[in-house]
């Protein structure tokens, strides 16, 4: 068993075990902490698969952003009955039904994948050229597929670099920046103290 496989099993075990811990924990803060560990392990899996960009995004957005926010939110507002959660029987059944159906979709899909991605069409986009000159061996599935960083290619594809041949998403990106501008201005305008209310009162007194 190679180091790569060992790392994979370690991270996968960690992700699964802490995911279960999230389900069985009763305290919201602990749940959040277990979720951080589980998602961190998932990010490790992404790194292991050569998807460094997705792994970094997972760390930055879920672990770094969303969950820290969640923990802070709970800690700042934790007075009510929401700190510890008792799950009722009906919710268990419902959650098991939903989770089980997702599992029933995911497991057969995962089993149906080619064990060794040597075929062109089964390869992950971007790794196709790499898998050609690789000797087909049994360890291919657990070996890292590519050593090239994916972030550069994703970035170039996003802005539509002349080499990539697509129009890219620079324009939508700019459009989003305008969205954010409107949201910021609207929120600031709505949330500011109403200091203009005074002249209006005077006016209505005169009238």
């Amino acid at each position: 068993m190679s180091w790569h496989a060992l790392e994979f099993y370690f991270l996968a075990l960690m992700a699964c075990a802490f995911a279960l811990a999230v389900v069985f924990a009763a305290n919201v803060v602990r749940m959040a902490f277990y979720l951080i560990l589980s998602l961190g392990a998932t990010a490790g899996l992404f790194f292991l698969a050569g998807a460094d960009f997705v792994g970094a995004m997972q760390l930055m957005m879920y672990v770094g952003g969303t969950l820290v926010l969640l923990v802070f939110g709970v800690m700042l507002t934790a007075q009510g009955p929401w700190v510890s959660i008792r799950t009722s029987g009906g919710e268990w059944v419902l959650a098991a039904l939903v989770g089980g159906s997702l599992l029933a979709v995911l497991v057969p899909t995962a089993m149906r994948l080619d064990p060794a991605p040597n075929h062109e069409h089964a390869a992950v986009p971007g790794t196709a050229h790499k898998s050609e000159n690789k000797a087909p061996d049994a360890k291919a599935s657990t070996e890292p597929q590519t050593t090239r960083p994916t972030a550069t290619r994703i970035g170039l594809g996003l802005i539509g670099a002349p080499t990539s041949g697509t129009s890219g998403y620079l324009l939508p990106f700019e459009a989003i920046s305008i969205h954010l501008l409107v949201v910021l201005i609207g929120a600031a305008y709505l949330a500011r103290p109403k200091r203009r209310a005074r002249p209006k009162l005077v006016e209505s007194d005169e009238a």
Binding site: G160, T166, S167, L171, P172, V182, G186
Partner: protein, 552 residues
């Protein structure tokens, strides 16, 4: 094509966004209310000048038969230009008539949001890509939330803003979910790719058409909220009633235009897969929308609530045109021996576009007149407050009567030509090809009868407003404190309605041409570029791996 060309093509939108930013920044640093309205109008006019220059260049290209059609995510066609001009016109009418919550005029943020909203509408008109289409829709929605929240600082106004906010988010989610199915089938966010996949020879034998239909259904549900189609209309009366006349005017025009244009773009791309579902859906929605809208409008006493139901009813009429368009086989679909008269294939779409323009102008004018008759902090509410306006404000009363007659569809006004074209083209569904089964024709005859009955119903409440103005004695004159802007907007809209009534022929020809160019998504192949996802010879890209997987 590179993004630089797209940006160049988007110069009209860029001007609007730039003006909006200037207004935002300037408003933050100036204490009083500056000349923001004038600056907004200036930005719109500048944008219009650039657009005119672009269109002239485009039409020269068109005459030389070298239509460089798509530039990345932006497409150039006459439908886009028509919608852009409409957006600019709507923008001018809105910026003119918007008022603040007190006598000092609108806040700079309001004007800036309006400009961004117009920019979003122009972007939606020219977008050729699902991502850009969605972002353009959001560029309309987000400033709308801000506008509604700023429009009236009363509990009713806040309720209206929140109600619209939550429902609009729901509709955006539905639209995006539908887009994701379309993307899944096409393997690309370009609408032209979806079209070439859907028109591929092997496509019909897969289960993919079902996915496309599901996607279009979700998109219709999402856009239906913006257009105010009946099962999704219920927010409209409350929101219109709770907000200011200018904000209601914006709601009655901008989301509807955007919804119809995006619906046309998506339906044109997904058309080969829609089959009978397309026109049946449109026709069914149209019947319940116009009937319910008109019948419920009869009971309303609040002017804005009445106009909300009226705008729902007009959305119903519009859908007839789209149904006709989707029922008559496309030229490319009927390429196998069923000749379709070129004009007939898009006649329904053209009628719908014409109706959209006519309705928008009349509706904006109506709200401007209502805004003029009220006060900024207390708009005119009930129909009975209009009593005797004809004697105290004859010009405004005449303009309002003109808008009411046009909306009711009385000859010879523009609204009449719009309704007439819709009904004529619904009745002429059978004239052309033999590919249309006789059952289809009966449906359209039934719907035409229902539409005429609805026009008669709608006349009752429009005439009630006119009756209140002209034949009821005045008790307590309306404030008529809306300011010069609302007056100008009313006048401008009245001139436009009269102009479209007199020159209905040329206007209709314009919408014919626009419909012709928008009925089929432009081929992305105009710009040579490597697209490995889609095979060049029209083979469906998604079916290929499936077949090879099966043969292995």
């Amino acid at each position: 094509m590179t993004t630089a060309t797209s940006i160049q093509l988007l110069a009209p939108q860029c001007v609007l966004v730039f003006t909006a930013i200037v207004i935002f920044v300037g408003g933050a640093f100036s204490e009083g209310r500056g000349p923001w309205k004038q600056l907004g109008i200036f930005g719109l006019v500048m944008s219009g000048l650039i657009l005119a220059q672009h269109q002239r260049a485009f039409e020269t290209l068109l005459q030389h038969n070298e239509v460089a059609a798509t530039f990345g995510p932006v497409s150039l066609d006459l439908l886009g230009y028509l919608a852009s001009w409409l957006a600019l016109g709507v923008g001018v009418l809105l910026v003119l008539q918007v008022t603040g919550t007190d006598a000092r005029g609108p806040a700079p943020e309001v004007i800036g949001s309006l400009l961004l909203l117009v920019a979003g509408l122009m972007l939606a008109a020219q977008a050729n890509d699902l991502v850009l289409l969605f972002l353009a829709l959001e560029l309309i929605s987000i400033p709308t939330y801000v506008l509604l929240a700023l429009a009236r600082p009363t509990p009713a106004g806040r309720e209206a803003a929140l109600k619209y906010f939550f429902l609009s988010i729901l509709s955006s989610g539905l639209t995006l979910y539908g887009f994701s199915f379309l993307y899944g089938v096409a393997g690309s966010t370009q609408l032209a790719d979806l079209y070439s996949v859907a028109a591929g020879p092997l496509h019909a034998f897969t289960s993919l058409p079902l996915l496309v239909r599901l996607g279009v259904l979700l998109v219709v549900a999402g856009l239906g909220m913006k257009i105010a189609i009946v099962p999704l209309h219920f927010y409209a009366p409350d929101v219109y009633q709770g907000t200011s006349p200018a904000a209601a005017a914006m709601l009655s025009a901008v989301p509807k235009i955007a919804g119809v244009i995006v619906l046309v773009r998506v339906a044109a791309a997904a058309r080969p897969d829609l089959g009978e579902l397309g026109w049946k859906l449109m026709l069914g929605l149209s019947v319940i929308t116009m009937t319910l809208g008109n019948v419920l409008a009869l009971w309303q006493r609040n002017v804005r609530r009445l106009l909300a139901y009226s705008s729902i009813a007009h959305a119903g009429y519009l859908l007839i045109g789209l149904a006709v368009w989707l029922a008559v086989p496309d030229k490319s679909v009927a390429g196998s021996g069923h000749p379709v008269t070129p004009g007939l294939a898009v006649s329904g779409l053209s009628a719908a576009l014409f109706y959209l323009v006519v309705y928008s102008v009349a509706s904006l004018g109506t709200f401007a007149a209502i805004g003029y008759l009220g006060r900024p902090d207390r708009p005119l509410d009930t129909v009975s407050e209009l009593a005797g306006v004809a004697s105290s404000h004859p010009a405004i009363a005449a303009a309002l009567a003109l808008f009411m007659f046009s909306l009711a569809g009385l000859p010879p006004l523009a609204g009449f030509w719009g309704k007439l074209m819709l009904i004529i083209r619904a009745l002429s569904v059978d004239v052309g090809p033999s590919a249309i089964s006789p059952g289809v024709r009966h449906w359209f005859i039934v719907v035409s009868v229902i539409a005429v009955l609805n026009a008669a119903i709608s006349a009752a409440y429009y005439l009630r407003i006119i009756g209140a103005m002209y034949f009821r004695p005045q008790h307590g004159a309306p404030a008529a404190d809306g300011g010069l802007g609302t007056k100008l907007a009313t006048g401008l809209a009245a001139v436009l309605v009269v102009g479209m009534s007199l020159y209905a022929g040329p206007a209709l020809h314009g919408s014919d041409v626009a419909a012709e160019s928008g009925a089929v998504p432009l081929p992305a192949a105009a710009t040579p570029r490597a697209r490995p996802a889609v095979a060049q010879n029209g083979q469906p890209s998604v079916a290929v791996p499936q077949l090879s997987a099966a043969s292995r």
